[in-house]
Amino acid sequence: MRPLSKTAATAFALLLLVAAWQAVVQIGHYDRSLLPSPLHVAQGIVELARSGVLFEDLQVSLLRFAAGYFSASVCAILLGLTLGRIRPLWTLVDPIVQVLRPVSPIAWSPFIVLWFGIGNAPAIVIIFLAAFFPVLLSTVKAVRSVDATYLKVAQNFELPPLRLLTRIVFPSAFPQIAHGLHLAIGTSWIFLVSGEMVGSQSGLGFLIVDSRNVLRLDLVMAGIVLIGVFGLLLDRTVGLLERWVGRQWGMEK
């Protein structure tokens, strides 16, 4: 009954959001082409679905996102495990990360195009970058806050270094890494639009940019709705995973 009532609450909340939006449209007397109403956007979505574009865009965006996000996660976790264990190295790498992290993908895009071309690659690279830094930072933090007792136990039983990493450090840091993965899914999904601006010919981000350029704000809004809803779904999925990890690791009862 609990999950059911939660779904009901979510549905109700989204209904509220749509109602508020309709209210804004009506009170502001905005022209349809400047601020489309929920109904128009729904029509837009139906139109996209009918023509098959919606499904195609969704699929290609999710694939790109998955490619960027998973490769970023794997790289960031492996690197984070290493950097977190070797303190002086992290002292060096940390400022580099902090300098690179706040730079918008939009600013990087000339260089991304130069190195990775156009099409799928820049979208994947931008999502990679957006996911990489948060996962790296939380992995390093997780590794550095591994309970000293576990490390002592490992020393005591004379575990060799690699086994220490795989059997003690990684599993012990995993709940916090999972939390980082959860955070990163939200922040990197945001960059789908930026990523698909660079010469992509499909995808939800492309849909938004393209519709914006031809002033079809109803389709822009349709794209926003789809990105929002799929963002919510992704977040919930990874949230479930995180909770499962938490339970499995005995973080909560």
Binding site: L34, G117, G199, L219
Partner: protein
């Protein structure tokens, strides 16, 4: 919706020419060219690649990820000036830009002290603004020129944040169709034969595949002629690339010409001198360095 989505991958030995564009009326001949024979010509295959903004398109062009583009001539000249090997082989269109202002603006003088949007300092549109103010006896600084993404301009005008704008089509038509703005000038009123978008190719393509380029340009010129008919088929094809409604498309097609796409020396020199006059460029590339009229010349 867009032809480029489903370019069939039947690989042949024919060179594929990748041309970048923005979904604006000004790139019209390209749409027709790709729609004719599905872009599969003797001697080359055309692949159009849509971009979201001029900088994104220029990044790809400069880095050699596309072979050419229909792009603002000023931007291409800028790139040439920066040392990128580019050649302009044809125009994108003639005329076709309009100055759109809010409904309460009667004459140019009414713009004094207000915000006026242009897409970029490096654009024909900025020059048109300059011309308009000069003709009305005003200084460039009398209005606040703001750079704004074209897509944002109709909304900004409708909500009164700007008093007017000049930009590529169909963004002008948009405001007119929804009665949030009106046309103050057409570009030919301010600068006859203005140079705006051009078809620009990378030098290495021209060197390596001159035959393919010739075939491509010939088909381009032909597509221009066809576009100029502005008949139902042309409109149908345009809509595959631009997703406009009929009113907007009809209006923006009224203002534009595609028939003679040769880059004349005269108008080009005019553009150069404007760029210098406005202080946008100290040394814009000379006609001989940048324009390659030979391909258009060979088209009968």
């Amino acid at each position: 919706a867009c032809g480029s989505r489903s370019s069939d991958s039947s690989a042949e030995d024919k060179p594929v020419i990748k041309i970048g564009y923005l979904p604006i009326t000004h790139a019209g001949p390209l749409y027709i060219e790709e729609e004719t024979k599905g872009g599969d010509y003797d001697g080359f295959r055309l692949q159009l690649i849509k971009f979201g903004s001029w900088p994104d398109l220029m990044d790809a062009l400069n880095a050699g990820k596309i072979d050419g583009a229909s792009v603002l001539m000023e931007l291409a000249m800028r790139a040439k000036e920066q040392g990128i090997d580019l050649k302009a082989v044809a125009l994108g269109h003639k005329d076709g830009n309009v100055v759109v202002v809010a409904n309460d603006i009667g004459k140019v003088q009414d713009l004094k002290g207000k915000s006026f949007a242009i897409p970029s300092a490096f654009s024909t549109h900025n020059i048109l603004l300059y011309q308009m103010l000069k003709k009305a006896g005003m200084a460039y600084g009398d209005v606040k020129a703001v750079e704004l993404a074209p897509a944002e301009m109709p909304a900004a005008l409708a909500s009164g944040r700007i008093a007017g704008y000049v930009v590529a089509e169909p963004f002008g038509a948009k405001s007119v169709v929804i009665h949030k703005g009106k046309v103050l000038y057409q570009s030919q009123d301010l600068w006859d034969d203005s140079v705006d978008c051009g078809l620009v190719l990378r030098g290495d393509l021209i060197r390596k595949q001159p035959e393919a380029v010739q075939a491509f340009v010939a088909a381009y010129a032909e597509a221009g002629q066809k576009a100029e008919t502005k008949d139902a088929e042309v409109k149908q094809n345009f809509k595959k690339y631009m997703n406009l409604n009929d009113d907007e498309l009809n209006l923006s097609l009224q203002w534009i010409k595609y028939d003679d796409l040769k880059i004349g020396k005269e108008p080009y020199e005019q553009l150069r001198s404007y760029l210098k006059e406005m202080g946008l460029s100290d040394n814009p590339p000379a006609y001989e360095d940048f324009v390659d009229p030979s391909f258009m010349d060979k088209v009968k």
